[in-house]
């Protein structure tokens, strides 16, 4: 039984599922993916059958309450978890294992190698992935550190810098590797409110420059509306797509992050309404 389609606030009718052909031809396709965890003898369904696709250069938000399976889905796209059913396609080719074409950024700050400097972390990634020479890697690293404003700090070790700086380095490292898709799992979730806003704005600026394909996971409606071109709303127990919105405010936020573009409040309200609805089958687990 197909879930009902919903009408986004820009009036575009969008269905939760995507057609098979569309998924196969997109940059990234999630085709009928279902993810179950075996806990002892029990099978816990974390993500119910889900299909969507991400276009080249798109910034897509997966939005849903805590525990609805957002991270699980993103890890599956990263190749760290194998779906129980369905397939994940990158440029039409099934994803089997983790690889540098899908760089994943975590919420936790401990994703930099503590034994390498800021620059060393990026140089190492470049040499591991592209096999470039040390000099070449340092040049590319410098360019990306410049983009996140950390070039003067490149010789510091990770334990001496703030959480916001660590996440910037993680982003710079991921972009330096030049993945086909950047996967971000609540990367700003552990930051204080001010720093979070600064990094959100920086991400929008970075994306405006690079037009990198990004799948960004969050539970915060506000963050989704400010960052997303398209927003997929997931509901819990088990995770499934509730609605898909094309964000009418995306371009405004790129130009003016602090602005309050028309339609933003309505979109937030509509999403909040969706998330407050009780799931049809009750909250599982």
């Amino acid at each position: 039984m197909a879930p009902p389609a919903s009408i986004g606030s820009d009036g575009v009718v969008t269905g939760p599922g995507a057609g098979k052909a569309e998924v196969a031809h997109a940059k990234l396709g999630v085709a009928g993916v279902e993810i179950q965890f075996e806990i002892g003898k029990h099978a816990h369904l974390a993500v119910a059958e889900t299909s969507f696709s991400v276009a080249d250069g798109e910034k897509l938000i997966l939005l849903g309450p805590s525990g609805c399976g957002k991270s699980t889905l993103l890890k599956a796209i990263g190749g760290f978890i194998r779906p129980s059913r369905g397939e994940i396609l990158l440029d039409g080719i099934p994803v089997r294992e983790p690889g540098p074409d899908r760089m994943l950024i975590f919420q936790e700050f401990g994703q930099l190698f503590p034994w390498k400097t800021i620059e060393g972390n990026i140089v190492h990634a470049l040499r591991a992935v592209r096999g470039c020479s040390a000099g070449e890697a340092r040049d590319i690293a410098a360019r990306h550190l410049e983009m996140v404003g950390l070039l003067p700090d490149r010789h510091f070790y990770p334990h001496t810098i703030s959480g916001g700086m660590k996440q910037r380095v993680a982003i710079a490292r991921a972009l330096a590797v030049d993945p086909a898709v950047l996967l971000m799992d609540e990367p700003f979730g552990a930051l204080d409110a001010q720093t979070r806003e600064v990094l959100q704005r920086e991400l929008n600026q970075l994306w405006a420059k690079t037009r990198k394909t990004i799948v960004f996971v969050t539970h915060a409606i506000d963050e989704a509306v400010r960052l997303g071109e398209r927003i997929i709303v997931l509901t819990a127990g088990p995770g499934r797509i509730k609605a898909v919105f094309a964000n009418p405010c995306a371009e405004s936020y790129l130009a003016d992050f602090e602005g309050d573009p028309a339609g933003a409040a309505e979109l937030r309200k509509e999403i909040r309404g969706l998330l407050e609805q009780r799931p049809a089958r009750g909250i599982g687990g």
Binding site: F80, P98, L104, Q111, F113, W115, H124, A125, A128
Partner: protein, 273 residues
């Protein structure tokens, strides 16, 4: 409620008054003076307890004629090759257990069984297998370090933070490149602890082997020197030999601290910072 007369928490000992190293030097100097005075006042026979001055004189004498260095070199040669080989074997075993899971169970089980056995206990067996010579002692030293080292390295490998492991996989690192670039550096605090323990075990084992079985190689080591000098009732030389062992132990300790300072401490990988 009575007000406690002692503050609930004191500042760390190292932070107060004189520098800790200076205080230690004063304690050692005071101990030596006390020893000298006691020996002179009590009139104890120098065959039982020589005075520190006599010991230092003997120490300089042995140092001057090259004997002490030769003994030290003999001991350290066996020790360094045994400990080095043991650490290498342990790391290879631990690395293999990451790549091939069943090996992990074998290593952990073997280590758990061998670890409680005092290493010196296998010396008779080693003499049977390798004959009397440095080979037997090196075997015993390897055996004394390899299991402690393997257990530590294994804990280090098992506790590599999942994010770091995933970053490695994400960058396309697999098998030995993943071990080299992620597992080894991430478990360096455990590996260094393992090396410290390995060194301490090996050091005790080699001296004990020399004491019990005498000159096993073509040339005796420090343990051998202590035995010979006791036989000849040169108690001051026995003390000089013991002093050398302490000095070497302190020097190695200093070296380990230095290594930690320029690695795991600098990288913020220790809880004490």
């Amino acid at each position: 409620m009575p007000v406690p007369s002692v503050p609930a928490s004191r500042p760390p000992a190292r932070g107060r008054g004189l520098n800790f190293g200076l205080r230690q030097a004063i304690i050692v100097a005071a101990g030596l003076v006390l020893w000298q005075v006691l020996v002179q006042v009590s009139g104890v026979s120098p065959l039982l307890v020589p005075s520190p001055l006599a010991v230092v004189r003997k120490f300089m004498e042995h140092l001057g004629n090259g004997e002490l260095l030769a003994y030290t070199q003999a001991t350290l040669q066996i020790l360094v090759s045994g400990v080095g080989l043991g650490i290498l074997v342990a790391l290879v075993m631990t690395g293999l257990s990451v790549v091939i899971r069943p090996i992990r169970d074998v290593v952990v089980t073997a280590a758990a069984m061998m670890n409680p056995l005092p290493a010196i206990a296998v010396l008779p067996l080693a003499l049977l297998w390798f004959g009397i010579g440095p080979g037997a002692v090196i075997f015993v030293v390897v055996n004394s370090v390899v299991w402690a080292m393997a257990l530590n390295a294994n804990v280090g490998f098992e506790t590599v933070p999942v994010q770091l492991r995933w970053v490695g996989l994400n960058l396309g690192l697999r098998r030995w490149r993943l071990i080299r670039d992620v597992y080894l550096p991430a478990s360096l605090p455990y590996i260094l602890t393992g090396i410290r323990i390995a060194w301490a075990y090996g050091w005790r084992t080699v001296i004990a082997a020399e004491l019990v079985f005498g000159a096993l190689g073509s040339q005796g080591g420090l343990g051998w020197m202590i035995m010979i000098e006791r036989y000849n009732l040169n108690t001051d030389s026995v003390f000089a030999g013991l002093g050398s062992i302490i000095v070497i132990g302190l020097a190695v300790e200093w070296l380990f601290n230095l290594i930690e300072r320029v690695t795991v401490r600098k990288w913020g990988m220790t809880s004490t910072g």
